[in-house]
Symmetry: C5
């Protein structure tokens, strides 16, 4: 998941002129496709669309939401960007899929890059992609790297005829999409919390290598989620809230405040988790050490008890001609008795010292 | 207690439209019930009330304090929220019981979500629930998740006829309720401090696994109390103090300042505790290691002394035909003497090196 | 010293109305007593006084300094507070002896709670109490929990006829008293530094359990001194400096600046000590581990050398009928030689590996 | 790489007057050389130039970019600095190659010292040098300590006839050069990230001394990159952006914003890496300890099983006259059986305790 | 070097009136002496002077630089302070040699206390003293605790006839003296860096107790240098730069900016060093542990291999009447063969597990 830092795209890029339009993300095996949703409070028209074809009529009073899945073909992005009125630097940002989330505005065209996060329950790994939003008064273009369901819940609401979303403008749609992204990150975080709780309950039982590596992994994911997704997304949301050009309806402003609060909740929770995991790691490590030591102590005590006994046996195994004890009738039982006494003495001493 | 992070409610919620009125907390087994307190300096009328019934007359000049216990029935909350003039997003916050404490105001209706904390002395666990306050000029609605006694002390004061509270308005009541919440958190913190003192005194005596897990647990609760309760409650209190619409009497403002100071005291104390527990954890771990090592050292010394002796015995246990020492009359005592000399030499050496 | 956090007074207090006048500190065994000092540049009159009796004439142009020792009788505090014009919340703060240092002002009456610190050289423990100052133009009341000598140096200066203090007004007296408190904290800190230096010099010689517990204790006291005394006292001092109602003479302002600088010096020094003690703790722990390991290594080497020798002896102790070596004339010396060779070989190997 | 801290130049420098013009960096073996690029949208003229010769005509309306490689001859720097209108303190900064990145402006002459970073893939070491830029309206002088390719990509773009750079003024050139520096640091950082990923994957397999030293090294380089290059470069870039005298075209301002964002991305990524490496170090150390302990445990268990068996054998090796068992027909098999029983009993016990 | 915290002077000082003129530093064995430098661009007159004698004529248009070495005689300081127009609190600060660096100004008289640092190359210890500067328009008095060469480089420049310093006023001299102090601290820091590099290179070779104590010591000195010298000196310098009364020439302002930048560079470098040393300490400790463990592992493996062999020998050393193997002709070689097989089996197993 360190790929998230998205630093690889800087390798071999030194001195490339700004605005170079080349895709720089992972290789993808599907062809990019474009969905078009045109809606107003009267209804929703939905269709697939050829991104290289002529631009649809975007000024019919309805809200146009165009969602491109796959940005690995620069021409497609260029063609679509041109429809949306994007500056070349914006197109570059769409293609270089390792941007820090940010918000730009130029001549009434807004551009935001954000990150979509999905937690894969099976592999317990966080999947992550860059998404970009480009909007002006009547239309919004959404760009997405992979086929993850970043917008699925919003599209669902559109299809189901949600009143508020259908009658809201592009401003409301923007907030709804960002809400979906924040909810994705929050979901990932809450699944990490579940893992933390499981780890905490195994802590008392059986601290082991594997669990330690788990704690480390969850903590690392927590840092990455906090620093690379939640904190910068919060920045983007609050700079959107403060933006004077972003003419949002009262409804959308309210909604945006709500999303901001969720993002803040998320950053706080991620910090708390990070702190707790730090402490858990320390406790984990030392518990493992303590238990190990306890095992070693018992083993060592056993050895320590038998070594002097073996020594006594060794004495009477010597072959000296003249060893009076060997001749005694009670020599053997006496030796065994001595051994027993030594053993019991040691056990008693160790118990008094509470070493057992 | 990680449930506190209240992130679970985000699972499976991706893209839910804002304002969805569904309860999202723990399952509860009691039916919500509503108590109604109407008072002025002339007296107090107290009665149980049907939350689904018609609204009582709230504009008779008295202060109306309605306390709902249990928010797990959305209809009840909706009906009551309508009486109090709540915005749908506020009702959603009452039902989604994992909110970060916050304060909203709209058209003279104030809404705050806060957290009520109780420390269970037997289980040594912190119990925690969300409470919401909704108030305007003549009435206050309090929503509470469980049957914990969040408002008991305030109701006690009302019943006992406390002068200041009876003659104060809704503003004074709000501060009194928040004071009760802060005092609950402070009480939890002070009980944690008691545990810390106990842990400190066991530290010098017997550092063990269990104690270490205790230190970890207290420290984690300390973080959660600080970050999830005390810090955000302090924020709510100070934004209430700064709020220009909140028309509080001089008495209530004074009181609010006092509560703020307690909350600040609490955050500072929680930070100090956190620091101290960090150090205690480190010392704990290393003391355990040191004592373990001391035990191992003694055991190893015993083994080390007997191993060469056993070797000597082994030599004279060999069956060579020609071993002159075996024939000597003083062979056996000489061998025993040699063993004694070796043992004493080693003891002397270890003592000089201060290994004992 | 965790009592310092003063959280215990919150236990069982939930919902108590503000302004409840009950003492909440440790039990005390002496009766509170009141000293009265009236002075001007012309002279000093000093007398014991009955705090429950009628108020003295405070408006004769002289400065009146009334010092109450012991605040465990609420009536005494109430009576005195009434003389001094205290608000009920101020009296509550005097009685609840676990306040965070703070400064209030109302209608020209100033009220400050601060903490007096003494380091007991014998027990190496910090003793700590709450002190409160209540002053207006012509008089100052000082409240003190115990019989520690918080004001002794100032009274000394008054008695010795110090010119500046005698001709200064109440403002100068306030600063002198606060100076005495800051000096007390600084003295405690400097005695901690002496301990740190001693600990550092024992570090290289003999890292042991006891020393580790000492480092932990000094570090904890350092945190408490910093966070509970020095930082909040600094806050009080600077809010006093900024206060516009506090009409101080140029001399007193200068003096206050000096005290502020000492407090700042103290906070910085406490932070440095805290950092250094952290590092010292780590080094301590690992040095102890390293030395322990060295002992274990030597012991293990001894055992490792003798175990193969014992094995050889064991071989020639076997009772097989046909064991040709046993019949050889040089068998025994050869066996001994073999053992010596093995032992020397191992020693040589361990030395080459620098394990000794 | 600690040389980076560039503190050595302060040794023996105490009290040197400011503006002393002496080179203070590493010894270099090549002669400084100067390249001259004069360009406008009409074309590019490129030539080598004698830095000690007469100054070229810099006011012909074209942009003049003079790049000096090697600053270890003070006369060359003095002569060039005079052409560019540098203040003596600026020349001193060029020669003392351990400056913290900074930006100065005086009478329309800008001066910036920055750091150029290269990651050597073979030695896995970061190479680092100081570069200085000195510019006014029509010309820019770039000073570089070594023969690293700091400006290569920019020169490439100039040669290839990049439209934007050729038609941009000195302002655009300045940003392009800084972009190249930031890209260099980002490339180094991304190569460190690759190493981190490799280290993470070896972590689970084989934690060893060498890997631990690697983690330490990468972490140290990360700190140095963050604190000595990325953070101060970000400061320089943002103070350039805020500078009111720096008259940049809209194109250059845009570009500068882009570079700033990269630098910010870099600082954030470096902080994340630093955090992650800290956790990795801890995990590494304890995994190594755990595995070691597991080996020790197995070995100790083996020894612990055999020691009592050896003791039993020792008993029947004693030479007492009267030892009835020795005479029994089934004595030997019985003894062997006893040993087997003891061994199996211990194995069963250890398995039940899950020590294996 | 903890003396640096300069807290000892607070012991026993509680309540001393401000402005008490008593020396509070280390005992010194030399008599204080005063050097007088009077200079202008025309020349320099240098002479020793009796500090108790009459004041020289300070208003002849030349700059008068009076340097007192040794402040342990209060009368000398008082007499000189009176010449210079010092407030009694300033004189107290000169005598109490544990001040935090600070800057005061009153009626055109400036007063600064700073710290002079020297690194003793032999003992590897930092030596440190307080210096005070007192200046107004035409003269500057410098007070120095010991005979360290704090001002030597500046005096050198004066003697050599440095143009800028000779023609500069008191303002330039002030900056030159502060530059000398900052350079001293930077030199100490760079020598610490050299030690850090040495420690880093021994790290990989031989982590030992002594080296660990060194790392601890360097880190502690680093903290002290940062917090007690560099940070507060930086504060003094920047408050001097912002001071509106300090009428400095353009030259001096420039120079001051330069010194400020050095101090900033120093604080940054000290922080980096501190971070790196923290990591180094951790690595050091764990490398030592790992190597120790490796030794133990080898030793334990040797023991583990021989213990079963000894057991086998023990079996055939038993004295049972009927032990068929003992009668066999090939019994002895078979037993030896069995032992060899067991030993090889164990070695093979350990090797496969990569325990060697």
């Amino acid at each position: 998941m360190l790929e998230y830092l998205n630093l690889k795209l800087f390798t071999g890029r030194r001195g490339a002129p700004p605005g170079t339009l080349e895709y720089s993300g992972k290789e993808r095996e599907f062809s990019p496709y474009l969905n078009h949703f045109a809606y107003s409070s009267d209804g929703l028209v939905e269709q697939a669309y050829n991104p290289m074809g002529p631009a649809p009529d975007l000024s019919d009073g309805r809200v146009h939401f165009l969602s491109l899945t796959g940005v690995h073909e620069a021409d497609v992005v260029k063609s679509l960007g041109a429809w949306g009125g994007a500056h070349p630097l914006m197109m570059e940002d769409i293609l270089n899929t390792g941007q820090r989330p940010k918000l730009n505005e130029q001549d009434g065209v807004f551009f935001a890059t954000l990150r979509n996060v999905d937690y894969d329950l099976e592999t317990k790994r966080i999947q992550e992609e860059q998404v970009s939003l480009l909007w002006s008064e009547q239309h919004l273009l959404a760009f997405q790297e992979s086929e993850q369901d970043a917008w699925a819940p919003v599209i669902e609401r559109l299809r189901k005829g949600g009143k508020r979303i259908r009658s809201g403008g592009v401003d409301y749609l923007v907030v709804a999409l960002m809400d979906s992204l924040v909810d994705g990150a929050m979901e990932a975080l809450s699944l990490l919390t579940v893992e933390v709780q499981e780890l905490e309950s195994t802590l008392a039982r059986k601290p082991e290598e594997q669990a330690l590596l788990e704690v480390y992994r969850v903590r690392r994911d927590c840092i990455l989620l906090l620093r690379n997704v939640l904190l910068p997304t919060h920045e983007v949301l609050s700079s959107l809230k403060r933006n004077e050009v972003f003419a949002a309806s009262a409804e959308a402003v309210h909604y945006l405040g709500d999303v901001l609060e969720h993002a803040l909740h998320g950053t706080e929770a991620a910090k708390v988790l990070h702190d707790i995991l730090g402490g858990m790691m320390d406790v984990h490590i030392s518990l493992a050490g303590m238990r190990m030591n306890n095992v070693m102590k018992v083993l060592t005590i056993v050895a320590t008890i038998f070594i002097p006994l073996t020594f006594i046996a060794g004495i009477y195994g010597m072959n000296f001609k003249i060893m009076p004890e060997l001749e005694w009738a009670w020599g053997y039982p006496a030796a065994l008795g001595l051994m027993l006494a030594v053993a019991l003495g040691m056990v008693w001493y160790f118990m008094r010292k509470r070493w057992f």
